[in-house]
Amino acid sequence: LLRLSSPAEALGPIEHFLPAGDPALPAVLAAVAEGSSRFEGRAKLLAADGQVLTVLLRISFPDEADEFGRVVVGMVDVTEREQLQQTQLAAQAELARASRAATVGALSASIAHELNQPLGAVVMNAQTCLRWLGKDPPDVEAAVRAAERAVRDGRRAAEIVQRTRGQLVHDQRNDEAIDLRALIEETIPLLETELNAHAATVVTRLAPSIPPIRADRVALQQVLINLMTNGLHAMAETGAAGRELTVSVDGPAAPDVPEVRVSIRDRGKGIPDEVQARLFEPFFTTKRGGMGMGLAICRSTIETYGGRLTARTHEQGGAVFEFALPADQDTAQTS
């Protein structure tokens, strides 16, 4: 398995086989410290020819400390299986991105056309209004009619924008009282494959008592998934040991503001100044092949429920995305 040329090569300290920074080593040591009888898990191993293998590892620990000189280790090479899985994941992600791009493309083309009609009419009416006023003597009555049409058509354009935003954000909106802590606990398992693919971990810090909020569960879950996925992507160049997402849920910052705050912190490079200003703009992206719609939709979703979404760079590095949603007063009073 380890491609050794002679049994002698197998002898030596464990560092020969465990690449630095692999989370398996501390996990093994932790198991030993806890006095477990065995360790089971996934680990990266260095083969003698330098290739990195992914293996399922099973180590049985002896009962007595002085027997640690020899432990029985079972290994199964799953490198190929892992690579296949990763290829599949990449293909799935690519497919999802392509279909999102197609949807957004078709949507924006149709919005552009639909908006252009009333906007064209607004401009033409305003120009015509000026012409009636510029006559000698001015035809005020005709100018008023043109101005009224401009107002009417401008309102129509605004309605189209509202309606489209409605369609984008809460198609089949289904609001309910939600405990954000529970929603986060439910959401993390959905990201398990992504987390594994990025060799990252999630740490949650949930306040013991927070009020429920009112929102569409699916829409809000999409926001969480989006923000956490962004966080994972941001840590692509972070050392494997440091890839940690911290998801916190807190109560109100001030007692008179009944709200729930959620923050998602990654350990990436943080947000450059030139990016910060445009972060939430539609079609703005720093990812190769990215659509630039994720954060725009997230912010718009959070705002739909009376909240706000902000981003900043953490003092100790990494980006923090934080949203606050108002506490659900109805449920709070009845419960």
């Binding site: 552009a112 252009n116 009416n125 120009q127 009636w132």
Partner: protein, 214 residues
């Protein structure tokens, strides 16, 4: 100041607008009215086909229309010999579409929202071109009416004159005495109201009168 629709004299220009958006129709109609141009608007190309065609003017069409599209209508009108100038409007600067429209003889292609002056200029040029076209058509129609009064022999002679033959050659060609050809020519000049030989040749050209193939 403004003559009510229907009673306007046949020489007063009329702009026909086709756009599926009522707000655009209203705005454009009023824009033209503000400079004293009468316009009538339609929601579809089908309605347009019932519009009067006896007055000079032009068509202002949106490229995208329900039913028959603006470009289809342009092709259909061209096939039926309707050469009324067409100005296209589009909601988005679609280059290939505008190239196609211009190649098919469109006067202009304006992207909404356009400058009011651009539209008014385009309409003014289109109306002027349509007036010219109608004037030419009227002259040709009158000439044709006169041409119809010529005898068969006179028409033959006219065709040969127009192709540049001298009396002697014409006489030989159709087997008449030179003097008889001269008399025919005199009749033709008088009936057609031609002041000179050059004038007569120009008229024959406008009518498309050609020397019969031997």
């Amino acid at each position: 100041m403004k003559a009510p629709a229907g009673t306007a004299p046949a020489t007063t220009p009329l702009v026909l607008i086709v756009d599926d958006d009522e707000a655009i129709r209203e705005a454009l109609t009023d824009l033209l009215r503000s400079v004293g141009i009468e316009a009538r608007s339609f929601g579809s190309t089908k309605e347009l086909l019932d519009a009067p065609t006896d007055r000079p003017g032009c068509l202002v069409l949106d490229v995208r229309l329900p039913g028959l599209s603006g470009l289809d209508l342009q092709a259909q009108l061209a096939r039926s010999g309707n050469t009324r100038p067409i100005i296209f409007m589009t909601g988005h600067g679609d280059i290939p579409m505008s190239v196609r429209a211009m190649k098919a003889g469109a006067m202009d292609f304006l992207t909404k929202p356009f400058r009011d002056q651009d539209m008014l200029d385009a309409v003014a040029i289109a109306i002027e071109r349509d007036r010219e076209r109608r004037k030419d058509e009227k002259i040709v129609a009158e000439l044709r009416a006169v041409f119809e009064t010529l005898t068969a022999r006179e028409r033959d002679v006219l065709a040969l004159v127009a192709s540049g033959l001298m009396n002697k050659q014409i006489a030989a060609e159709i087997g008449l005495a030179e003097i008889t050809v001269k008399i025919h020519r005199g009749h033709i000049m008088r009936k057609m109201g031609a002041k000179s030989l050059a004038d007569l040749v120009r008229m024959a050209e406008m009518l498309g009168v050609r020397r019969p193939k031997p």
